[in-house]
Amino acid sequence: MSTKPNIRAVTSNEAAPFIAPQMTGAEMVVRALKDQGVDTLFGYPGGAVLPIYDALFQDNELRHILVRHEQGAGHAAEGYARSTGKVGVALVTSGPGATNAVTPLADALLDSIPIVVISGQVPTHLIGTDAFQECDTVGITRSCTKHNWLVKDVGELSAILHEAFEVARSGRPGPVLIDIPKNVQFATGPYYPPEHAPRKSKRTMRRVDASKIIEAIELMASAERPVFYTGGGVINAGPNASQALRALVRETNFPITSTLLGLGAFPASEPQWLGMVGMHGSWESNHAMHDCDVMICVGARFDDRVTGLISAFSPNSKKIHIDIDPSSINKVVQTDVAIVADAGEALEALLEAWRKHRPAARPVTSQDSKNAALAAWWQQIDTWRARKGFAYRPSDDVIKPQYAIERLYQLTKDQDVYITTEVGQHQMWAAQFFHFNEPHRWMTSGGLGTMGYGLPAAMGVQAAHPDALVIDIAGEASVQMTMQEMSAAVQHNLPIKIFILNNEWMGMVRQWQQLLHGERYSHSYSAALPDFVKMAEAFGCTGIRCESPAELDEKIKLMIDTPGPVIFDCRVAKEENCFPMIPSGKPHNEMILLDNFVGDEIDAAGKTLV
C-alpha cells in the first residue's frame, strides 16, 4: 500500500493503533457507503463496475434501485438528497455510463446538491488505449463536479471514498465523482473506516464575523423599505436555518421573497411571504426588490433569472449578502455588507443581535419614524398585491394549467406531500400556485434547467419517503426525456404520481417564440405524442386522463388514491402564457402581465439574451 505524502493516518488512540481489515476495492465501496450512512443507491451495472455489483449482491443492507438510464440514477440521487438533506449516491459503469451521468452532475453543481457518483473505469493498464467503454471520465466531469478522483491504488480507496462524502456535504454542497478502475475493484487492501481514514488537511470553516453582523443589524435597523431575499442556501443549511429565518422575519416584520430553489424555507402561508422573485416571480416581490432600500440576501446568488437587467437591479438599496461560498460575493452584484458563513449560523447570529440591539436601534413606539416607514412600505406592498399578478382567465370548457395546479394543491396540501418538476411553464406555474410551508418539499432543477429531471427525482424522493405522496408536476415534452424510468418505479414499488400538464407544445419555447421571434413557432409543437394512458398501462401502472375542468377534482382524488405509480394526462389549454414575466433585458418593475401584454415588450438587445 502506498499513500500520498500529504495524507497521514489518523488513529484515535495512539496506544492501540487501529488495524485496518483487508478487503477488495469493491467490498470497500459497499462498506464505505454503509459507514457513511447510505441506505439507498441508484445505479446501472456494466462491465467495468461488475465487481462492485458482485459485492452488492452479497450485501443485504443497501437498497439498490435499478434505473433505466444513468441520467435517471443521477437525478434520483439528487431527489433523494434534496428531500432528505443527506448525500445521494449513484453507481454507473465506465464510458457511456459515466457520460450519461454528466447531466445530473452539472445539475447538482449549479443547484448545490450533494451527490456522490461512483463510476467504473477500464483497468489501469488499459487507461489511455481507447479500450472498450473507456472515456476520460475525470476529464469530462472535472468542470461539472466540486471535485473528482481517479483511484489508481486500492490503498487510497477508502480514504477517498470518505473524503468524497465529506466534500459533497461540506461548505457549499455539490456533486463529486470517484472513478474506480476495474482492477482496483478486484485488488485487496486495507479498509479504513471514517474515523480512522487518512485525511487530507481540511480547510477551517470561517466563523461568522461578529463585526459584520453588527453592520448588518445597523443597516436593517435603519431600513425603511427592507426585503429578505433568500435562496437554496437556507434549505441546504438545514432545519435550524429555516427556523432562524422564520424567527428573524417575524420579529423584524420585514417582507420576504425567495428564489425558485428557496421555496419552503419560509412558510408560504404567512402574511410576510411575497411569493417567488424573478423572471416569473410575483408582481409584489419583484417590485419590492426593485424599490427596497435594504436587501438582505441569504443563501442566494443573484442569478440572472432573479435580477433581470443588472444595471437596473434594485438601484437604490444597500445589500447584505450572506453566502457560504466567498466566490458568490460580488460575483454579479456589488454587496455593501458581505458575510461569508453558513446561512444557519449567520441567521442565528443576526437573530441574536437583532434581539439585543433592536430596542436601542429601533424602539417599538408608534411615533418612531422607522416603524411608520415600515408600515407605509407594507401599505405599498398591499397595493402591489392587489394587482394580482398571477391572475389568469378561468375557463369552464378547458382546463387552465394554473387551475390544475391550484386544485392539485388544494387536494393534497393536508398530506405528506413532496413535489418535483420538470422544466418549463409547468415548473413556473407550480412555483406560483403550489405553496410550500416546509423546506425539502420542493425539488426542481433551477440552475441548469434540466428537462427530464422531475420523474427520476421523484423516484429518489419516494425511495427516501416510502409513505409520502410524491408528485412530479410535469410537461409532456420534458417528461418524455426520462419517461423510461417509469419502468424502474414499477419494479421498485415507488408509487410516484406523474402529473402531466399536456398542452402538446414545448410551452416555454412557444411562449418565447411568440414574444421574441415574431410568432414563428419553429419546431416547438409535438405533432405526435404517445397516448400517456396506454403508456402507463404498458409500463404496468395506472394511466388517468382528464380533459375537462368539471372532472378534475375527482380525477386528482383518484390519482391520489390509486396505489402504485400513476401517469396523469391532464389536457390543458394549449396556448396559455406564463405571467408575470420580466422580459429579457428589463428591470424588475417592467413586468409583463396578462392584461398589459401586447407583444412588443422585448427590444433587440433583450432578444439576444437567454
Binding site: S201, D325, E590
Partner: protein, 189 residues
C-alpha cells in the same frame, strides 16, 4: 428607469500576478486552467513546476489581467478548487519579486550585429549561442524589461523569442507570510 452606477466604469484592467500553491496530483493544472477558460478569464502567462517534493506541492504562477473586482473573483474561484492550497496575490504584495527569463534569437551581420550585442550588454543579457550571423541571448528580469529588449532587437534582426512566463517569490528570510508551510498543514489536521 433608475440605474446603478457602474462602480468599475473608470477602472482600467491591470496585469496581476497570482501564485497558486497546489497539490501536485494528476489533473491539477487542468483544474486551474479549466476554471480560467470556463469562466472567461484571461491568462497572459503561466508557469508550473513542483516546488516541494516532500509536501507534494507545485507552484503555478499566473499572470492575468482584469479590473480589481474581476481579480477578486478569480482568486475566490481559485480558492474553491480543492487541490488549491493557497492563492498569493504577488502584485498586491509590496515585497513580492517577479522575474521572467527569455531566450532571444537575433540574426544580423555588420553594424546591426554589433548593435545587438551592445543592447544585450546594456540589458545584462548573456550570449548563450553564436554563429557568424546570429546570437541567442538569455535575459532575466521583469516582464517589462524583457518586452523592452525584444522591441529593441526587432529592427536588429529578431528571429524568435521563447519566454518562461513570470516566476515570483516573497522578499526576506521567511517563506511567504501567508503561506502554509507543509509542517503547518500537517499540524492543522
Amino acid at each position: 428607469m433608475a440605474f446603478n452606477a457602474d462602480p468599475h466604469a473608470d477602472e482600467r484592467p491591470q496585469a496581476r500576478t497570482l501564485a497558486v500553491l497546489v497539490d501536485n496530483e494528476p489533473g491539477v493544472l487542468a483544474r486551474v486552467v479549466g476554471m480560467f477558460s470556463a469562466r472567461g478569464f484571461n491568462i497572459e502567462s503561466l508557469t508550473v513546476a513542483e516546488t516541494d517534493k516532500a509536501a507534494h506541492t507545485s507552484r503555478i504562477t499566473i499572470v492575468t489581467r482584469g479590473q480589481s473586482h474581476i481579480i477578486e473573483q478569480i482568486k475566490s474561484q481559485l480558492e474553491r478548487i480543492l487541490s488549491v492550497r493557497q492563492v498569493i496575490d504577488v502584485t498586491q504584495d509590496s515585497a513580492g519579486v517577479e522575474r521572467e527569463l527569455a531566450l532571444v534569437k537575433v540574426r544580423s551581420t555588420g553594424a546591426e550585429r554589433i548593435e545587438a550585442l551592445r543592447v544585450s550588454d546594456i540589458f545584462r543579457a548573456k550570449v548563450i549561442d553564436t554563429t557568424l550571423e546570429s546570437f541567442i541571448f538569455e535575459i532575466t528580469g521583469t516582464s517589462s524589461k524583457i518586452d523592452a529588449i525584444i522591441e529593441l532587437m526587432r529592427p536588429l534582426g529578431l528571429v524568435e523569442v521563447s519566454r518562461t512566463g513570470v516566476l515570483s517569490i516573497h522578499r526576506g528570510p521567511e517563506a511567504d507570510p501567508t503561506a502554509e508551510t507543509p509542517a503547518a498543514t500537517a499540524a492543522s489536521n
